[in-house]
Symmetry: C2
DNA sequence: AGCGAAACATGCGTGCACGCAAGTTTGCGT
DNA sequence: ACGCAAACTTGCGTGCACGCATGTTTCGCT
C-alpha cells in the first residue's frame, strides 16, 4: 500500500525524480541557484532537458524538493500514529514534528533556500502539498463518514502552515520589525503551534461530531 | 481611504489594468482563449507586450481577472457590513453573496472559463486573493488585538472557498460521479455553505475570545 | 514655476514551459 | 516465448516570463 503501482516502471520513475532533485540541490549549493541552468540539472541527472520538466515545472521546485521530499507523507503518517490523543493535538504535534528540522543533512540547504527570494517562494508553496495526504489521514480518524469535512480541515491546516512559514521567513529575514502585538518569537515550532491554535476548535468539533455519529 | 495612493499615477495604472482585462476577455470570447496571443491583448489595450506582463503574469490571469475583478474587496466589505450577526454567519453570508453570480454581465464568460481547463485552474486560484482583504475585515471584527488569528482564519476561509470551487468544477464538468456520500448537490451557494461549515467553530471561538478580552 | 528624483513604459535578450510527434522501453495476455 | 498496447523519453518548435537598460512622465519640494 506504499507507492507501488506497477513495479519496475514506477521504480525507475522515482529514481529519476530523486536524481533530478539531488542534482538540482548539489548544483545550487555549488554555484548558487541563479547560475544553474535546467540543462545542467538534466545533464547531471543523465536525462534530457525535456524530460526534466516532465518531473518539475520550475527550477526552484526541483531544488526545494530535495529538502522537502516525502515530508507530506510523513506528516500524514505521524497523524495516524497518534490515535490516543485528540485530533487537534495529533495534527499539531505531527506538523511540528515534521517541520522542525530533525537533524537533517540539509541544514545549509535550508539556509540557502531562506536566503534567495525565488526559492523562499517555492519553499512556502510546498506547504500546500500536505493537503492531500493529510486529508486522507484526517478522514481516517473521522471515520470516512464525511470526507468533505476532512478535506476542508486539511486545506485549512495547510493554509495555516503556509501562513506560519511566511511569518517565519519574514521575521528571520527582516528581524522583528513587526508593529503589532504578541509576535510569537522566531522559533518555528512555537510559530507553528501559535498559528495552528485558532483551528483547534474546528478540529475538535469535527471529531465530536464524528464520535456522535459513530458512538463506538 | 479607497485605493488612492498618489493620484493621477495610480489612476492611469488602474485604467491600463482594466483595459487589459477587458481586452483579454473580449478576445477570448471572440476567438476562443487558445488563439489569443499576449501580443493581441497588448495591442488591443494600446500598450506594449512587455507592459502587459507588468500587470499580469499569465494570459489566463488576465482573462479571469475580468470576471473576478474587485470581488475580493467586496467580500471584505460585505463582512464589515454585517456587524449585527455573528462572525461566522457574517463571513459565510458575505462569501455566498459575492460568489453567487449577482446577475453579472459575465454569464457567458463564466461558461467559457468553466469549460477550458487552463482557465478553470486560473479561476480556482483567484480564491486565494480574498485572503488579504478578508484578513483586514476579520481583524476589524476581532478588535485588532490578535492580527495573527485573523490571518489564519482568513487563510482557512480562502482555502475552503478553493475547495468548494474545485468541487464545483469537478461535479459540473463530470456530472455527479462521486462515489462518496452526501455530495451536496451542484448548487454553488449550497456548496459554499457546506464547505465553510466546518470552520464555524473556529470563527466562533475566536470571536468569543476577542469578546472576553474586550468585554464591552 | 522649475528642478531633481522616482515611478513607469518599452525594446531587447535569454531561459524556460509545454504541446506535438516520433522512437523506445516495459508490462501483460495468450 | 512472443507480440501488442500503453507508458515514458526525447527532439523540435512556439509562445511566454522576466531581468536589464533607457527614454519618458509624474510628483514633491523649495
Amino acid at each position: 500500500m506504499t507507492t507501488r503501482r506497477t513495479g519496475l516502471r514506477e521504480q525507475k520513475k522515482q529514481a529519476t525524480r530523486e536524481a533530478l532533485r539531488e542534482a538540482a540541490l548539489r548544483l545550487a549549493l555549488e554555484r548558487g541557484p541563479e547560475s544553474v541552468r535546467v540543462d545542467d540539472i538534466a545533464e547531471a541527472a543523465g536525462v534530457s532537458p525535456r524530460t526534466y520538466n516532465n518531473y518539475f515545472s520550475s527550477r526552484e521546485q526541483a531544488i526545494v524538493a530535495a529538502v522537502t521530499a516525502e515530508r507530506e507523507a510523513r506528516v500524514a503518517a505521524a497523524v495516524a500514529a497518534r490515535p490516543a490523543v485528540g485530533l487537534a493535538d495529533a495534527v499539531v504535534e505531527a506538523v511540528v514534528e515534521q517541520y522542525t528540522d530533525p537533524g537533517e543533512p540539509h541544514r545549509d540547504a535550508l539556509l540557502l533556500i531562506t536566503t534567495r527570494p525565488a526559492l523562499r517562494e517555492a519553499f512556502v508553496d510546498t506547504a500546500g502539498a500536505v493537503e492531500h495526504p493529510l486529508t486522507d489521514a484526517i478522514a481516517g480518524r473521522l471515520g470516512d463518514t464525511d470526507p468533505h469535512t476532512a478535506r476542508v480541515l486539511a486545506a485549512s491546516v495547510a493554509a495555516a502552515i503556509r501562513v506560519a512559514l511566511e511569518q517565519w521567513l519574514h521575521t528571520t529575514a527582516a528581524s522583528v520589525t513587526s508593529g503589532g502585538l504578541v509576535v510569537p518569537s522566531g522559533s518555528l515550532p512555537d510559530l507553528l503551534r501559535t498559528t495552528l491554535a485558532p483551528l483547534t476548535p474546528a478540529l475538535d468539533a469535527a471529531e465530536q461530531q464524528a464520535r456522535r455519529r459513530r458512538p463506538q
